[in-house]
């Protein structure tokens, strides 16, 4: 039975710099990187290649010794030019200089009529497996687990997020094959959750072998965590998996073509990009060719991902593994005279405290990275609840994590959350606490102790 869920709580951030639905022409990126830091669950990363080696797209270049069946593969063919380490030899980036034409490792088409374990093992060694995320904890799934269900959110409600109907057009058969493969891996259902406020794009509407549910409402209606909570919430001891629509297509390509195809269409967004739009590249692309010479001002922040859950990267940094979007906004390191009391309709705020008149402004907002205030203890109550469309008491949960109270964390629902689920709470918090970091800290406490 498909479900229709209408959500009321949440907040849509309407920002300047939306990408028009058309492909732009940019010089292709030439270097690509795998960043172990993109995968929060990696415990003991081990590099399988050396500087100077040549690899094909799909060649294993990294494993986690704690979960060594899963390989992390090269997104492109080319030469390993640098293995970058930070303090205490922490592995940061494995950089590949790409060939002009990309060649793929071919591991043969995957037969879906084999048993579950064999299929999982095959996918784990193909490079596509890191697309499968385990809940609780938001880490790369363990192929030997059997999840109670698999959830795919087919739309992204984050600010300026790419439109999957556009980025994945023409990939219908791969998407279906991906869903078929996932259906083999779970003992329960595959849930495909589409945007209930408009008709689903062709790639999702005709999908078989999955239950199609409709979600509508403000962000975070498109967050898979929100959707799981309303479909089949995760309790202690249970495991569910989530995959992005792009990940499903990648799995489908592995199944039908026998290759690891890391090509993806990403959105270039944000107020500081002269030209916004969509561009085709590969996972882990160097952002400089899309950003340099395409900026409205000099003092900007380049974000891999969106403004709520993304990560700051340098002008020649690399796109995150799970990111389908680059956002560029102004850096906000300026002081503003009496900025805490000045009335304004142009500063984006969820609140309506005195002088905060952005609720009157129906247009798009230009935002920067200023925190608009210093960190404070939790004072205001009832705000997080307004942007959290789950039966969870965020303030109490956050306080339980601060106090490192394990029982409380479990009982208050930390198993249902990952960072992105509390990103809106972090945004609206007038006390400016870093709540995503806090939630990850809580998750690590539950995982490792």
């Amino acid at each position: 039975m498909s479900k229709i869920v209408k959500l009321k709580k949440g907040f849509d951030l309407k920002l300047v710099g939306k990408a028009p639905l058309e492909m732009s022409n940019f010089a292709p990126a030439t270097t690509f990187a795998i960043k172990p830091t993109d995968f929060p669950g990696i415990q003991r990363p081990k590099v399988l290649v050396n500087e100077g080696d040549t690899v094909k797209a799909g060649t294993p270049i990294l494993i986690d010794k704690a979960l060594d069946q899963v390989i992390y593969a090269a997104p492109v063919s080319g030469e390993i030019v640098e293995i970058k380490r930070g303090e205490k030899r922490k592995l940061l980036e494995i950089k590949i200089l790409a060939d002009q034409t990309i060649t793929h490792e071919n591991f043969g088409k995957i037969d879906l009529n084999q048993d579950r374990e064999a299929l999982a093992a095959k996918l784990a060694s193909s490079g596509v497996w890191p697309n499968i995320i385990q809940r609780p904890f938001g880490i790369v799934a363990n192929p030997s687990d059997t999840p109670k269900a698999i959830f795919i959110s087919a739309f992204d409600t984050h600010p300026l997020a790419p439109d999957f109907g556009f980025t994945l057009q023409g990939e219908e058969k791969y998407f279906q094959a991906g869903v078929d493969a996932l259906a083999k891996l779970t003992k329960g259902k595959v849930h495909l959750n589409v945007d209930g406020s408009k008709s689903a794009p062709a790639i999702f509407s005709g999908v078989k072998n999955a239950q199609i549910n409709q979600f509508s409402g403000p962000h975070p209606a498109g967050n898979v965590g929100t959707q799981i909570h309303h479909l089949d919430p995760i309790n202690k001891g249970e495991i569910a998996w989530t995959v992005s629509p792009y990940g499903v297509v990648q799995i489908g390509k592995a199944v039908l073509e026998g290759i690891y195809d890391a090509s993806k269409v990403i959105a270039l967004t944000g107020s500081e990009l002269t030209k916004t739009g969509y561009v085709k590249t590969y996972s882990g692309a160097n952002v400089s060719s899309f950003v340099k010479g395409n900026l409205n001002s000099g003092h900007v922040r380049v974000i891999s991902g969106n403004v709520l859950t993304g990560e700051k990267v340098n002008l020649d940094g690399f796109l995150g593994f799970y990111h389908n979007q680059i956002t560029v906004i102004p850096e906000g390191d300026y002081e503003e005279f009496l900025g805490w009391i000045k009335p304004s309709t142009s500063k984006l705020s969820f609140h309506k405290a005195i002088g905060m008149l952005s609720f009157l402004n129906k247009g798009e907002f230009k935002v920067d990275t200023n925190t608009h205030g210093e960190e404070r203890p939790f004072v205001v109550t009832g705000v997080f609840e307004k942007v959290m469309p789950m039966d969870i008491l965020p303030t109490y949960l956050f306080k339980a994590i601060v106090a490192e109270d394990f029982d409380e964390m479990e009982e208050l629902g930390l198993y249902e959350l990952v960072e992105e689920d509390v990103a809106l709470c972090e945004f609206v918090d007038p006390s400016k606490n870093d709540l995503q970091e806090l939630v990850r800290h809580g998750i690590e406490l539950l995982m490792y102790s």
């Binding site: 709520l308 009496l338 805490w340 304004s344 609140h351 905060m356 404070r376």
Partner: protein
């Protein structure tokens, strides 16, 4: 503005690590961030943008919501004075007289409170929090106009240190800071904060014949004891001076009482500001008024004396109920923090206020004790609301 920025920059080295006033770094930051919203930026991971609202703006919203009550309070202090002394006075006379008696209290409250707060921030190396902006105003507004200033200072120090800082500062306190200040005076120096003599400032003058300085609550209580109908007793009180306790007079606030508490209308104006800006919980405010009214009706039904038989709506305009419900009960730190809890908390404050007023001969005003009692009970209310949430999660797991 560049000049001010340069001034701050020029003294900055003194407050940095190794500077001669390193210990006072938090004071430097505190003042600079009042002049200029800080140039802090978001971290590399986590939300890259943050909401434009900060705690300063939230707190100043509450202060602004209290300004109507403050201005009316100033005018009313003058008004009451000239009625008691039997003199004719213009609007300006009243305003000036009122300002001269209220502003010193306000200044002492802010000066002493901030000094105490700064001392703790320096000792503990905490950033200066904005909480006292609100507490300082509240403390002044719940004082009688005749209060000796040293008592204001003492109460303020007690409230900030014992009410707040020992629990860890802003956001950690259990009791409402301003109510703690008032309760301290109420029990330590009752002569200056209760009875019939303290609500009207006479100075050197003597009251005209037949004038009574009693508050509406005292009049209503005595009506219950003496067996005269409460409404009649209220409306005939000081009637010859045109200062009777009619419903309208009490609603408008032309009655003796603490500086900011007399006007129900001004409290409602504050409530509209607080609710429209989303800063205070409308559930607590509606619950508080609703609880008091409902309890008033229950009292009517069970009436064994004239006070109990007083129409329930009178409870809403007498004493400090409106002020307390709007500005004190809604303090987010000491109130219940769950949404269901806020209903329970608000309603019980209203109910308890009326019970204390009507049945307890020692305390004519109930709102102070009701708010403090519910501050203490709020975590218990929340405990059960949170427990219900946990239970739903556990039950979900077994089905």
């Amino acid at each position: 503005m560049k000049a001010l920025q340069n001034l701050f920059d020029s003294i900055k080295p003194n407050f940095e690590k190794g500077g001669k006033w390193e210990k006072f770094h938090t004071l430097y930051e505190g003042h600079r961030t009042i002049a200029f919203a800080p140039d802090l930026i978001t971290k590399a991971k986590g939300t890259q943008i943050k909401d434009a609202t900060d705690l300063k703006r939230v707190m100043i919203t509450v202060v602004i919501a209290m300004i109507p009550a403050l201005l009316f309070g100033i005018l009313n202090i003058g008004h009451q004075h000239f009625i008691a002394s039997g003199e004719e006075a213009t609007f300006l006379d009243k305003a000036i007289f009122g300002a001269l008696s209220v502003l010193p209290i306000l200044i002492v409250s802010y000066a002493v409170g901030l000094l105490t707060e700064f001392t703790f921030c320096v000792i503990r190396n905490h950033p200066i929090s904005e909480g006292y902006l609100v507490s300082g105003m509240l403390i002044a507004l719940v004082m009688p106009p005749y209060i000796p200033l040293w008592q204001v200072a003492l109460a303020t120090i007690f409230a900030v240190v014992i009410g707040k800082e020992v629990f860890g500062g802003t956001g950690m306190n259990i009791l409402n800071v301003a109510m703690t200040a008032r309760a301290f005076l109420y029990f330590a120096y009752p002569a200056q904060i209760s009875g019939d003599q303290v609500w009207t400032y006479l100075g050197e003058k003597t009251a005209v014949d037949g004038f009574s300085g009693a508050t509406a609550l005292a009049v209503a209580y005595n009506a219950g004891v003496e067996g005269t109908p409460a409404v009649e007793a209220l409306s005939s009180h000081n009637a010859s001076f045109g200062a009777d306790f009619s419903f309208l007079n009490m609603f408008m606030g032309w009655i003796p009482g603490s500086i900011g508490e007399t006007s129900t209308l001004m409290a409602l104006v504050g409530a509209v500001i607080l609710v429209a800006t989303g800063v205070a919980s409308w559930k607590i405010i509606v619950g508080g008024f609703g609880g008091a009214y409902a309890m008033g009706l229950v009292m009517n039904a069970l009436a064994v004396n004239e006070y109990m038989a007083m129409p329930a709506q009178y409870h809403l305009v007498m004493g400090g109920l409106a002020f307390g419900v709007v500005f004190m009960a809604t303090d987010p730190v000491s109130a219940a923090q769950t949404e269901t809890g806020k209903w329970i908390y608000g309603i019980l404050i209203g109910v308890l206020t009326v019970i204390i007023r009507v049945t307890n001969p020692a305390y004519p005003e109930g709102i102070m004790l009701a708010v403090l009692f519910m501050n203490v009970m709020a975590p218990l209310v929340d405990y059960y609301v949170v427990k219900a949430n946990k239970t739903r999660r556990i039950q979900r797991a077994t089905v």
